[in-house]
Amino acid sequence: MPVESAVPLVPAVVDLPFREGYVRSIIFVSLYVSVTAVALSTLFSLPVAMIMGFADFRGKQFVKSIINTGMGFPSVVVGLLVLFTVSNQGPMGALELIFTREAMIMSQFVLATPPITAITLAAITGVNENVRDAAHVLGGTRLDVALVVIKEARYGIATAILAGFGRAISEVGSVLIVGGNIVSSGGISKTRTLTTAIQLEARQGQYDTAMVLGTVLVALVLTVNAIVVRLGDEGAMR
């Protein structure tokens, strides 16, 4: 990943009391979990938003209110719910997902989906109906028309994805609960993210170190945002 390879610069700039590769590994876990969760969430949210935007079905209002509630849903409660699900005692216990990255992806998926869906829905319904009609009339199947709408709404959808990513990568409580903040004895992160590492340092009262990790996290988020916005600008300036 392009961002990950820029990270070796970090220890050089700041003197961190960590073993070689520790910071790199927690950045990797953060990105791996959040990017995967957001990607899966986008694959799920796009069709859902399309259906919400263009179809009428019973319970549509209900789904809308679930999405809106989901936007503000306390993330740590999501963590608890995922914990109950993947715990050995829970319905998915047999899959042994407790304390794994996959469980973390699950909880971030649940958190990222409402904002991605809601903002995508707004972007899609903002597409002029005439454009949709035109795509239809020119011989497009329903799928063709959907693709046209998605392309028309692409900037709004990018915003949605960024919003979901922001929510996912800033997550602390739920990934802590279901992931366990595990690092191998060699100092390589298994389920520790930047956020849970910060929490660990803060718990120990090591606020300076926590702050440095916090800066790394902010820099990461800003970089991702900048990349996406830049791609968008290039598109607009064509």
Binding site: E96, L97, F99
Partner: protein, 310 residues
């Protein structure tokens, strides 16, 4: 044609999800050593935050991992959560320092094969000017009573951790119930609690390990010593280790848990524990290896064969 496309997309999405789920389980166990049977497996150990934060486990686990060719996932959760995870079968072995809770765990059948592991102690720390005047007291309970009477600021963990449990036991033994603005429950980890006490010039009960690691950054001093430095026994902090009962959770990795317990109570590992230092001081005192083993370590405290049955 549109229907085919939709099915195609659904299949790809489902496959992606399934393949990601299939990627769980042990990754990256070290090669080498490799006793038959457990090699390549992962042991999940839940323990308290203060234990984990000393760095001891990260230091010594490498030896065990190499010896057996396995991976140890140490999850720092806090006493209550560590036991709860073990109770649910989400971990294979649990290491805490709260004898009362360990006993309950054993009585209820969730944990077996308990061993005494090591001990350190608690200390009562506070501001150098010692407003309540407890410096050097030989009774921890008297010190707390004095603090309560002087209504001097006191920071409590308030989180049912091992430290908090000890603190509550002390108040209980002192016959004093702490209440009032001077008594603050923070619900944070030990390091943070020390910081808060530092900022407010308050007293607090801390495990020696965390205090040592924080010492350079705070202005609190030890006012009542723990038994390691000659203070009262009541401030002792013994650690125990238990395996999750495979009779309750048949997918608990019992073989590996027993290998771990065997290893960590062996002379080699116990030596490594006593050599572990933080800021130049020894943090833990091993007690597993003994010419004269304490039989009470295997059963809930106070159990005798005359008392009730299996």
């Amino acid at each position: 044609m549109p229907i085919q496309r939709r099915q195609f997309i659904a299949a790809v999405g489902g496959g992606a999800l399934a393949s990601i789920a299939g990627c769980s389980g042990s990754d990256g166990s070290s090669s080498g050593g490799g006793s038959a049977g457990v090699a390549g497996e992962t042991l999940t150990l839940t323990t308290t935050t203060s234990t984990y934060d000393t760095g001891l486990l990260d230091e010594i686990h490498g030896d065990f991992e190499e010896m057996y060719g396995v991976t140890v996932d140490a999850v720092a959760q806090g006493t209550g959560a560590a036991l709860e995870s073990a109770r649910n079968g989400d971990s294979d072995v649990v290491m805490v320092h709260a004898r009362g809770l360990e006993d309950e765990f054993m009585r209820n059948g969730y944990g077996i094969n308990r061993r005494d592991l090591m001990f350190n102690d608690f200390v009562i720390v506070g501001p150098e000017d010692d407003p309540a005047g407890i410096q050097g007291m030989s009774s921890a309970t008297d010190a707390l009573t004095t603090i309560a009477e002087a209504e001097a600021a006191f920071v409590s963990r308030g989180d049912n951790s091992g430290t908090h449990t000890k603190e509550l036991n002390l108040w209980d033994a002192a016959g004093t119930e702490p209440s009032g603005d001077w008594y603050q429950e923070t619900g944070t980890g030990m390091g943070e609690a020390l910081n808060i006490a530092n900022q407010q010039g308050a007293y607090t009960l801390s495990d020696r390990g965390t205090y040592i690691s924080q010492r350079s950054e705070i202005d609190l001093t030890i006012l009542v010593q723990g038994p390691i430095e000659g203070g009262p026994e009541i401030l002792a902090n013994p650690y125990g280790i238990m395996a999750v009962n495979p009779g309750v959770h048949d997918n608990a990795n019992y073989d590996l848990a027993m290998a771990y317990i065997g290893w960590i109570t062996s002379p080699g590992a116990q030596d490594a524990i006593s050599s572990y230092q933080m800021n130049g001081e020894q943090l833990f005192f091993p007690e597993a290896v003994s010419e004269d083993p304490n039989f009470q370590q295997y059963v809930p405290e106070g159990w005798s064969s005359d008392s009730s049955s299996e």
